[in-house]
């Protein structure tokens, strides 16, 4: 028996069909004020303690990255509200998207969980471990 290989052409129109888990519909971002003080980072540690919450900084600033999927996604990966989908979804191009390259390649800082951010805080603030003592004294 002879196998005939069929190579499907990946074009902008068919590309999303190759993306098996609909990466671009699996998160939201929210820009946050750039943290400076120990209190700011302590607050971020509270947020990143929660499931699926990450933090990154890129050339546009600091962002929460919340890896919750869109509720409008149909089981086959299509959009359930395509005709009335938000503008950000309309503007999104699959020309060079998450399917091609992990977005974190353009992050200056990327904290995937509590432990990673905590490590950064300890390095950035000499007195990090004593931050609650200071508060009591103040």
């Amino acid at each position: 028996m002879k196998t005939i290989p069929i190579r499907a052409q990946m074009t902008p129109e068919t590309k999303c069909g190759f993306c098996t888990n609909t990466k671009c519909c699996g998160y939201i971002t929210q820009q946050i004020p750039g943290p400076r003080s120990m209190e700011d980072f302590d607050h971020l540690l509270w947020q990143i303690s929660h499931a699926n919450v990450e933090v990154y900084k890129d050339e546009d600033g600091w962002f929460l990255l919340i890896n919750n999927r869109c509720t409008k996604l149909l089981p086959d990966g299509r959009c359930g509200i395509y005709e009335t989908r938000p503008q950000i979804c309309r503007d999104y191009s699959n020309d060079w998207c998450e399917f091609d390259e992990p977005p974190e390649q353009h992050f200056e800082l990327y904290f995937r969980n509590y432990a990673e951010l905590l490590q950064y805080c300890r390095k950035r603030f000499k007195h990090w471990e004593r931050r609650f003592d200071q508060k009591k004294e103040a």
């Binding site: 929210q30 509270w46 303690s49 509720t71 409008k72 938000p86 503008q87 950000i88």
Partner: protein
């Protein structure tokens, strides 16, 4: 309308809500804390964040947040969409402005 359209994108995702109170607008993500132990205690109690230290059980989530606690509260996409349609007369025509 563009601002609200972006909020609609966010709230379309699981566990995302919005509220507005006297301090302003907030994005509320109801994902659980990863430090929670099986019995409900805190797994990092001695080094828990300040916001957890300051949280009081006096009138807390257990007592039930009601709509009275917020100026506005949107539990999901449909609730926010309904508000947008009421607030902006031309909401449903917003993508046609170039036509």
């Amino acid at each position: 309308m563009a601002d609200f359209d972006l909020l609609l994108w966010q709230i379309a995702h699981h566990n995302v809500q919005f509220f507005k109170d006297s301090d302003g607008w907030f994005l509320q993500v109801t994902n659980r804390c990863t430090h929670l132990l099986a019995d409900g205690r805190c797994g990092i109690y001695d080094t828990r964040p300040i916001i957890c230290r300051e949280h009081s059980t006096d009138g807390c989530e257990f007592d039930g947040m009601t709509e009275k606690d917020f100026d506005l509260f949107f539990a999901d996409y449909d609730a926010l969409l309904k508000y947008c349609r009421r607030r902006f007369k031309k909401w449903d025509q917003r993508f046609q402005k170039s036509g």
